[in-house]
Structures are given as structure tokens and as C-alpha cells.
């Protein structure tokens, strides 16, 4: 246990020494990682906020069911009982066509036009509040109702939020793809830095191995190094986005007040922050691991390299 601890302590100390031995290189690497990761992180934050905002303004989704013009009273009663029994429907409200016309008349400028009409052009309608606002169940309810013979036209009154939702999903996918690609960049940066370190520390590695260091012992400081550097890069990305968010947040809040909406930008949740930190650390570890697996071989004594000639 204490040997384990001492080995890891040694690895940590020499990893930190590697970071501080070449401060400019380390700093540049960290900044590059930070800037690269702040792009998808920023996009993600923006999309998260938009999603919260679109949820706020749209409220609970509703379906408007406009009946066919020739629907009679019996059929309407029948429809009412069908809606009452439907498991996906929370509540509904019947709006007869004359009430709808009255409401329309109250609007400025329309009264005269409506008075001139020979007959009421509006259909009877139901406003339906659904239980489950998930887009999929809304969609299935929509198609089901549309098939009823009494249904003239079924309309979402929140169609634009659904479209926004779909767009946001697409945007998140794009941000994720970007993060994925930049993840490769992080692996490549770490790989290369560690490769250079291994080459400049060939002597140390070679001598350590000659006097009894295991491969794990040699690997460990580089793995720590790659992990720590990338994790600091992840933290930098978090700070960069926090800074930018702070800058635009002030502007946006005063703008939003003009429109009496409560629009405040939120940074990553602590869960998402942890994911950012963890995934950058893991990628750094992976890059270092690849590098060590590739380059350590070059420092190996011939005992291991010669095997194929000696059997």
C-alpha cells in the first residue's frame, strides 16, 4: 500500500515537474485545449439556454381540433365523451362557432367585416390540453385525432416551439460532433507533447529501466502529465465560456426586460461541468497512453527486442 502510494506520489511530482519545466509549452498547450473545447461547450450552453427559454414562453402544449362544418349536436356529444375517456387528454374546452365569432368580433377593426358576413364561416372547435407534452406522444395524438370523421383540421398551437425544439436537437448534435472532433485534437496534442518528452528523456527512461523500473513505473508520470494538462485545459474551457457568458449576459438581461421576459443565461450545470472535466482528463490520459505505448518501445533494451532472432 505504501509502496503503491509512494510510486503514485513520485509519478504525480514528476508529472507536475514536467508541466513546470517547460512552462511556455505547457501554457500554450493548455490554452489551445481550452480554446478548442470552449467552442462546443459554448454552443452547448447557448442551446441549453434556448431550450429552457422556449419551454418558458410556450407553456403547456395544446391541440386545437376544428370540427367539420357539417358536424351536428349528437356527434359533438359523442366526441365529448370520447375525449373525456381518452387516456392522453388531460382536459378540453368546447368552443361553439358562434362564441368563436363573438370573440373575433371584439378584435379591433373586425366587427364591421364580420357583421357583413351572410353566415358564420367558423367551425366548432375543441381546445385540448394533453397530459404528456413529449413531441412523440403529441405527434401520435395528432395523427389519431386527424383520422376521426368529425375532425376537419387539427392544429398544434405550439408548432413553432416544436420546430425550435427539433432545431435545438440538431444544434446539440452538431455541438456534440464538434466536441468529438476536437476530442481527437486533444488526443493528438497530448500524444505529441508526450512523445517529445519521451524523446528528450530517453536517458532517464533507459537508465530507470536498466536499474529495475517496470514499464508501469516509466509510464505513470507521462499518464499523469497528459491527464493533468488536459484537465487544466478543460477547466480553461469552462472559464473561457464563463467569461463570455458573463459579457453577453448583462446585455441580454436588459434587452429581455424590454420584452418582459425573464431571460437569464445559465452556465453548465455542475453535472455537465463534471462531464467536461472528466472527458478532457480521460482524453488526455488516452493521448498520453497512446504515446507511451508507441514510444516506450524505442527505449527498451535489446533483451526484449531481440527475441525473434534468438529462438
Amino acid at each position: 500500500m505504501s509502496i503503491w502510494f509512494s510510486h503514485h506520489w513520485h509519478a504525480l511530482v514528476s508529472a507536475l515537474r514536467k508541466l513546470t519545466d517547460a512552462p511556455i509549452t505547457s501554457l500554450l498547450n493548455i490554452v489551445v485545449i481550452g480554446v478548442a473545447f470552449s467552442l462546443p461547450t459554448g454552443a452547448y450552453i447557448l442551446l441549453e439556454n434556448l431550450q429552457v427559454f422556449s419551454g418558458q414562453v410556450s407553456g403547456a402544449p395544446q391541440l386545437n381540433l376544428f370540427l367539420a362544418l357539417d358536424t351536428d349536436k349528437n356527434k359533438i356529444a359523442e366526441l365529448e365523451s370520447r375525449l373525456t375517456q381518452h387516456p392522453q387528454i388531460a382536459s378540453f374546452q368546447f368552443i361553439p362557432k358562434n362564441v368563436a365569432l363573438q370573440q373575433l368580433k371584439k378584435r379591433d377593426g373586425l366587427a364591421d367585416i364580420i357583421d357583413d358576413l351572410a353566415q358564420n364561416p367558423l367551425p366548432d372547435a375543441f381546445i385540448i390540453n394533453v397530459k404528456d407534452a413529449a413531441p412523440e406522444s403529441l405527434e401520435s395524438l395528432h395523427t389519431e385525432i386527424q383520422k376521426w370523421p368529425e375532425a376537419g383540421y387539427v392544429q398544434f398551437n405550439s408548432a413553432w416551439t416544436r420546430r425550435l425544439d427539433a432545431l435545438l436537437k440538431l444544434g446539440k448534435l452538431a455541438a456534440l460532433t464538434l466536441a468529438f472532433l476536437l476530442g481527437f485534437a486533444l488526443v493528438a496534442i497530448t500524444f505529441n507533447t508526450v512523445r517529445l518528452q519521451i524523446l528528450t528523456r530517453r536517458d532517464e527512461i533507459e537508465i530507470s529501466k536498466l536499474i529495475g523500473a517496470t514499464n508501469d513505473f516509466v509510464r505513470r508520470p507521462f499518464l499523469y502529465f497528459g491527464t493533468i494538462q488536459a484537465a487544466i485545459g478543460g477547466i480553461t474551457a469552462w472559464l473561457i465560456t464563463a467569461f463570455i457568458l458573463h459579457l453577453i449576459s448583462n446585455e441580454l438581461t436588459s434587452l429581455a426586460k424590454l420584452y418582459t421576459v425573464d431571460l437569464r443565461l445559465h452556465h453548465l450545470s455542475s453535472e455537465d461541468s463534471a462531464i467536461l472535466l472528466l472527458s478532457s482528463a480521460c482524453l488526455g490520459w488516452f493521448g498520453a497512453w497512446l504515446s507511451v505505448a508507441n514510444c516506450l518501445w524505442k527505449t527498451e533494451s535489446r533483451w526484449f527486442k531481440d527475441t525473434k532472432y534468438t529462438h
Binding site: 529501466k209 536499474i211 513505473f217 533494451s301 533483451w303
Partner: protein, 217 residues
């Protein structure tokens, strides 16, 4: 115990550096390996430390057949050997103290115990006052003694020194040999390769003489 039986070493170049080597060294023996330059002394020591692999034949060290060991087992075997390399292999980017500390870090010693041991080893070779110096400031003899300190600090059961007195004046050479003798007296197996037969003079120790890759004594 170190035992060679029927060992041949042919390098990839095709050069046969060792031919049919057979010997056994008992625990706590002190043995000189002599021979002209190019006789195969370094090759023989590298075979013991599993740095090179024999072409044929078997090498058994402390009951372990080297051919059967995996990478980690080789590392653990090497921790039981103290090596003084012909080309010294000093790390010039760190202090004398840190050079000697390295084997103990590899062994996973806690820093306090390790520090005590490093100072004890430096004291033994007379480098205590140079602990914080850089190796570049050391003289030839001091560097050689640094290598000895690094080889013994892990308290190996076998000490292997390749030309430890190569560039030293006779007085310094004798100092080094005396350090090895004192280690031999506390029960460590000591192997010293040298082409300097003047060192042997009145020595009572066993000699393995190599000539053109063959044992002649």
C-alpha cells in the same frame, strides 16, 4: 548464485562475442572478469543483467532462469542487482543526491527512509559534501564513486561493475576497489570487469579470464 551453462552470444552483426561460457559464482564471492578490450567482458555482464539475451545456453541467477522471465520479473530481478555501467549513465539534469535516489524511487521507498539511505551511500563513497551538486561539477573519480553509490544504495545482493576504475589514477582506483571489498565483506556478491590487470596485483580473489569470447581460466 550466478550460473552460465553453454552460453553463446552472437550479435545481430554476426559477431560472436561469447563462445561456450560455463561457470558458477557462489553467493558472497568476489570475482574479477579480465581480458583485453573486446574480449567480451561487457557482453557477459549485460547477459547477467538481462540487457542482452544469449543466443544459446542458459543463465540462472538466484535460482531464476532468465529465459523464463517476463518483463516485470526482469525488472524485479534488476532491482536485486547493483549495476555500475562502463559508460556511467549519470543523469546530468539532476543533483548527485537525485541520481542516487532514483533506484529507491523505483523500489517505492518513502522519502524519509530513502533520504537516509542516499546519505549513507554517499557517505560510504565520500561524496556527502557533493550531495546537492550537479554531476557536471564532479571530477572523474567522483563521478565513478557516484555510480558506485547509485549501485549500492538499493542494497543489492549482487554488485556488477563494468570497468569501474577505467579512467582513474591508481590511488583512486584502489579507493574504489576497497569500497567493493568492504561490500563483499558484508556478504554481497561482487563482479568486477576490468582490463587493468594491475588492479589484481596481490588480490586473493577469483578471476574469470576472457580472451576472444572464450574463458581461458
Amino acid at each position: 548464485m550466478i550460473s552460465f551453462s553453454g552460453v553463446y552470444k552472437r550479435y545481430l552483426s554476426g559477431f560472436e562475442a561469447l563462445k561456450n561460457i560455463n561457470f558458477t559464482i557462489e553467493p558472497a564471492e568476489m570475482v574479477f572478469i579480465t581480458g583485453h578490450s573486446g574480449a567480451g567482458k561487457s557482453t557477459l555482464l549485460k547477459l547477467i543483467a538481462a540487457i542482452e539475451r544469449p543466443t544459446t545456453g542458459s543463465i540462472v541467477i538466484n535460482g531464476q532462469n532468465l529465459a523464463a522471465l517476463n518483463s516485470n520479473e526482469i525488472s524485479f530481478l534488476r532491482r536485486n542487482l547493483g549495476l555500475v555501467f562502463q559508460d556511467q549513465k549519470i543523469l546530468f539534469d539532476r543533483t548527485v543526491f537525485d541520481n542516487v535516489l532514483l533506484p529507491l524511487q523505483i523500489n517505492g521507498f518513502d522519502f524519509k527512509t530513502a533520504t537516509e539511505r542516499v546519505y549513507a551511500a554517499l557517505d560510504k563513497v565520500g561524496l556527502l559534501k557533493n550531495a546537492k551538486s550537479r554531476p557536471i561539477t564532479l571530477s572523474g573519480s567522483e563521478r565513478q564513486r557516484l555510480c558506485v553509490a547509485r549501485a549500492v544504495v538499493g542494497r543489492p545482493s549482487i554488485l556488477i561493475a563494468d570497468e569501474p576504475t577505467a579512467n582513474l589514477d591508481t590511488d583512486y582506483a584502489n579507493d574504489i576497489i576497497n569500497i567493493f571489498k568492504s561490500l563483499h565483506q558484508v556478504g554481497i556478491t561482487v563482479l568486477i570487469a576490468t582490463h587493468n590487470t594491475g588492479l589484481l596485483g596481490n588480490a586473493q580473489q577469483r578471476i574469470l579470464a576472457l580472451s576472444h569470447g572464450e574463458l581461458t581460466l
